[in-house]
């Protein structure tokens, strides 16, 4: 039964998704309210700005990207600034989502066997709430990577202000963290787009279908429909 708002032609789900999440609106469930989506895209965009100004410095193979932004010296100037943007956005994101991302003892298996089972479609989803273990692990991977990239990046920004050994360690740490993060990002993007239809919508419009919720996050689905107490 369409609500009064919908009868009047309002896009009620999109409207309510500005401030509210975890509610049912018609056939949709609001998964990410506007603030969540904004913070996610701030991190994503600043990450890509860092990527495009960092890759040409990482390897001359990406020199052509450097040319697109005005040369390597422009990268040298802009990359640290974008880095600060990225770190700031990641910090806000961390506190925005930290409460919902607590990894329970049962979910530890996602750092390994359950993640692979998930990729084989052999994972038992029944008890998955709003976020599955893989998403939580990715959340912490991002936070750690953000921290590692920030700390090493500051040292690399002002190399002459720090001891020699710290500068050298920072370069290695920056590379290592980047590779770790880049691999995670590839999977993140894949799983959020083509691997799972309907998922991307959660981060753009903010909503998912009931069927989507029931397939991927059944416990969350039951909680929202009031069939189960929220835990």
């Amino acid at each position: 039964m369409p609500s009064a708002m919908q009868q009047l032609g309002f896009d009620e789900a999109a409207f309510r998704a500005r401030t509210t999440e975890d509610i049912v609106v018609g056939q949709e469930i609001i998964r990410h309210r506007l603030s969540s989506r904004l913070i996610h895209w701030s991190v994503a965009i600043s990450f890509f700005l860092c990527l495009f100004t960092g890759l040409p410095v990482w390897s001359p193979v990406f020199g052509w990207i450097g040319n697109l932004v005005g040369g390597l010296s422009v990268c040298r100037v802009l990359h640290p600034m974008f880095g600060i943007l990225f770190a700031a956005a990641a910090l806000v994101m961390f506190f925005h989502w930290a409460k919902e991302m607590t990894l329970t003892a049962k979910e530890r298996g996602w750092i390994g066997p359950r993640l692979f089972a998930y990729l084989r479609d052999a994972e038992n989803h029944a008890e998955i709430g709003k976020y599955n273990g893989g998403q939580k692990v990715f959340f912490y991977t991002s936070a750690l990577a953000g921290l590692g990239l920030l700390l090493s990046g500051i040292v690399m920004w002002y190399p002459t202000s720090f001891p020699h050994w710290l500068h050298q360690t920072a370069i290695v740490l920056h590379s290592f963290t980047f590779v770790l993060f880049a691999v995670s990002i590839v999977f993140h993007i894949y799983l959020a787009t083509t691997a799972e239809p309907g998922t991307f919508n959660a981060m753009t419009r903010g909503t998912v279908s009931k069927a989507w919720a029931r397939i991927h996050h059944p416990k969350w689905y039951r909680e929202i429909l009031g069939l189960e107490k929220r835990s």
């Binding site: 001359p60 020199g63 040298r76 370069i171 290592f176 691997a195 069939l227």
Partner: protein, 296 residues
């Protein structure tokens, strides 16, 4: 000595790696005999003059030394080391400058194509136009030589007077040295000369006299005769310098591994999609009792 036009043997951040040498060029070197350096600093002045470097305010460090360390506008610094040891006291002067390593850590670490080059005769040079001032060379240098301009952050250092040496002149410092402590020429010739000098020193009571030409960096283009060769650290020289592990780890291990890992992830994602398809098809199983139907 006349030098034919210099080819570039190695260039920083080169995708294709070292260039093929079409012409054999002998390695050149600067010979420094610390035992007859009198600390007159004529070489410092000549370096400033020839390279037209702006003045750098001196810093009182408690000795005759001009500055605590090299500077972007001061590429040649005589270090006045005072060392107390079993045999008494030694006042050891040593010419601090770019060592022109055969395997330069700075060049290895540099991410800007062509910013640091090594010519076929072994001279390591910086192109300020291509330098981006990132400071990676500092992490790569085992001798703490790269110094940076305050504003631009660009690196500057001794060029072994490549603008003089390429037309057959000796470096300005060598030209100015009044004691014969400095020589310039083919490295092989200078190494023979150093050996003779070391034999002389050894017969005059300096049993540990050696030539400092560290093989960890493939040998250097500045070879230094040390009376106390068993204690290079007395002269402010590292005992066994190499291209730092961090640079090797980053460029030779993490970077190729990173390429493989990221490409592997992309290929893996594609393969996964081809094999498993997307997750929309999965049957969520029987509905829980009382659960209203989920409309698609």
């Amino acid at each position: 000595m006349s030098t034919p036009a210099l080819e570039i043997r190695r260039s920083s951040a080169s995708v294709l790696g070292s260039l093929t040498q079409t012409r054999q060029t002998p390695k050149v070197a600067k010979y420094v005999d610390t035992t007859i350096c009198i600390g007159c600093k004529a070489c410092e002045v000549a370096c400033q003059e020839w390279n037209d470097l702006p003045e750098v305010a001196t810093t009182q460090v408690g000795s005759y030394q001009t500055l605590p360390e090299l500077h972007a506008n001061y590429w040649n610094l005589i270090r006045f080391n005072e060392v107390e040891h079993d045999g008494g006291f030694s006042w050891l002067m040593r010419k601090d400058q770019c060592m022109h390593c055969d395997e330069p850590g700075c060049l290895e670490a540099c991410p800007a194509p062509g910013a640091i080059v090594q010519y076929s005769n072994g001279i390591v040079d910086v192109d300020p136009e291509r330098c981006i001032g990132c400071g990676y060379c500092l992490a790569g240098c085992p001798f703490n030589v790269p110094k940076f301009q305050d504003k631009s952050g660009k690196m500057q250092k001794c060029t072994l007077c490549v603008d003089r040496t390429r037309v057959g002149l000796e470096p300005a410092c060598v030209k100015a040295c009044p004691t014969g402590c400095l020589h310039y020429g083919d490295k092989d010739d200078l190494v023979s000369m150093a050996k003779a000098r070391i034999a002389q020193l050894q017969s005059h009571g300096f049993a540990n006299a050696t030539l400092y030409d560290p093989q960890g960096v493939g040998g250097t283009g500045v070879i230094t005769v040390l009376a106390h060769g068993d204690h290079p650290e007395w002269y402010g020289l590292p005992r066994d310098p190499t291209v730092p592990l961090s640079v090797t780890l980053w460029k030779k291990v993490l970077r190729p591994l990173g390429f493989v890992a990221v490409l592997g992830a992309v290929v893996g994602a594609f393969a996964h999609h081809l094999y498993h398809g997307n997750k929309g098809h999965i049957d969520p199983g029987p509905r829980d009792a009382g659960e209203p139907p989920a409309a698609a």
